[in-house]
């Protein structure tokens, strides 16, 4: 189990680096959503199901949506 969690954390870090470096904002937002999704799974393994639900619904779902709405109304390239 710990190996799987380590893998999740690594995916998180790599996705965060992608979000930090990507020139395309939509790309960065998707990477950021991936970070939240991985975090939500890690929360589940840390015995925090309530937080996992909240992070999956808010962090991975809703914030991605509002980011994309905002990018739609502004510009996509950095």
């Amino acid at each position: 189990m710990i190996a799987f969690q380590t893998f999740l954390v690594l995916v998180m870090i790599v996705a965060a680096l992608r979000a930090a470096t990507s020139k395309d904002l939509m790309d960065a937002v998707i990477a950021c959503t991936l970070v939240s999704l991985m975090a939500s799974i890690v929360f589940y393994f840390l015995h925090a199901p309530d937080v996992a639900m909240a992070e999956a619904a808010i962090g991975a779902g809703l914030s991605a949506a509002i980011f994309i709405f905002a990018i739609n109304r502004t510009e996509r390239q950095e």
Binding site: P49, D50, A52, M53, A54, A57, I58, G61, L62, A65, I66, F69, A70, R73
Partner: protein, 239 residues
């Protein structure tokens, strides 16, 4: 130049954090290994875990902490979301051009029908989540976020339809008032804000745990309407 300075700063912070984490036993696991958890003295987690069911009647300890023991935080947090909803609508809703709706491409028939089919199911699921918050994982915030994602679906799939901002605003106000009122009734009856003044009922039953489910439903409605108006304003469907 800016990059170099920032990176230096970040490296300094990183070293500080690593040094402190390796020397200082932070967290419940470290406390358990040192045997500090078994000592006397105040530890919120241990106290709540052992007393929550008896004192509040809710089997989900997180729910009893969120709504009862740390209820004032939750009131504050609902107020923060309320501020954000007000702020977003103030910032984005003041433009006059909102009336002249830009023509948007309609979504395809499959997407449209799918959204119309899914939306009630999503609402039903959200209601389940926040009505059972005191028994199973979930609660007002999670349920509210699920409802708001239903609204996102409507904005994406059924262009031109929107959730009425006035109805959202009224729901926001009323559910917030219910929360504050329950708190004040507790103050009037027992001298302490957010006192659980209703009978606890049978543990594991839906109608148990006194005021916790009522407050959680109020929070659920409030969070749904607030997130709904944030999403609506950002999607360009505001007033």
């Amino acid at each position: 130049m800016r990059t170099v300075v920032s990176l230096t700063l970040i490296v300094i912070v990183a070293i500080g954090v690593i040094v402190s984490l390796s020397q200082v036993p932070v967290g419940a696991e470290a406390a358990r290994q040192e045997g500090r958890l078994d000592q006397d003295g105040v530890n919120f987690g241990r106290y709540y875990n052992s007393r929550a069911v008896e004192e509040t009647g809710a089997t989900n300890v997180v729910a009893s902490v969120v709504v009862s023991y740390r209820g004032l935080d939750t009131l504050g947090e609902v107020a923060v979301l309320f501020i954000a909803a007000l702020g977003v609508v103030t910032l984005l809703g003041t433009k006059q051009e909102r009336k002249a709706k830009r023509e948007v491409e309609q979504a395809s028939l499959i997407v449209f029908t799918g959204c119309r089919f899914l939306f009630p199911l999503i609402l039903l699921f959200a209601t389940y989540i926040f009505a059972h918050g005191h028994l199973t994982p979930g609660g007002g915030f999670q349920g509210g976020a699920v409802t708001a994602s239903g609204f996102v679906l409507i904005y994406l799939g059924c262009r031109g339809r929107s959730v009425g901002p006035k109805q959202l605003s009224a729901t926001e106000s009323l559910s917030g008032l219910v929360f504050v009122m329950i708190g004040l009734v507790g103050l009037a009856l027992g001298g302490s804000f957010l006192l659980n003044f209703l009978p606890r009922g049978t543990t594991y039953a839906l109608f148990s745990a006194g005021v916790i489910p009522i407050i959680y439903v109020a929070i659920g409605l409030k969070v749904s309407s607030e997130l709904g108006s944030i999403v609506g304003a950002l999607a360009g469907e505001g007033e």
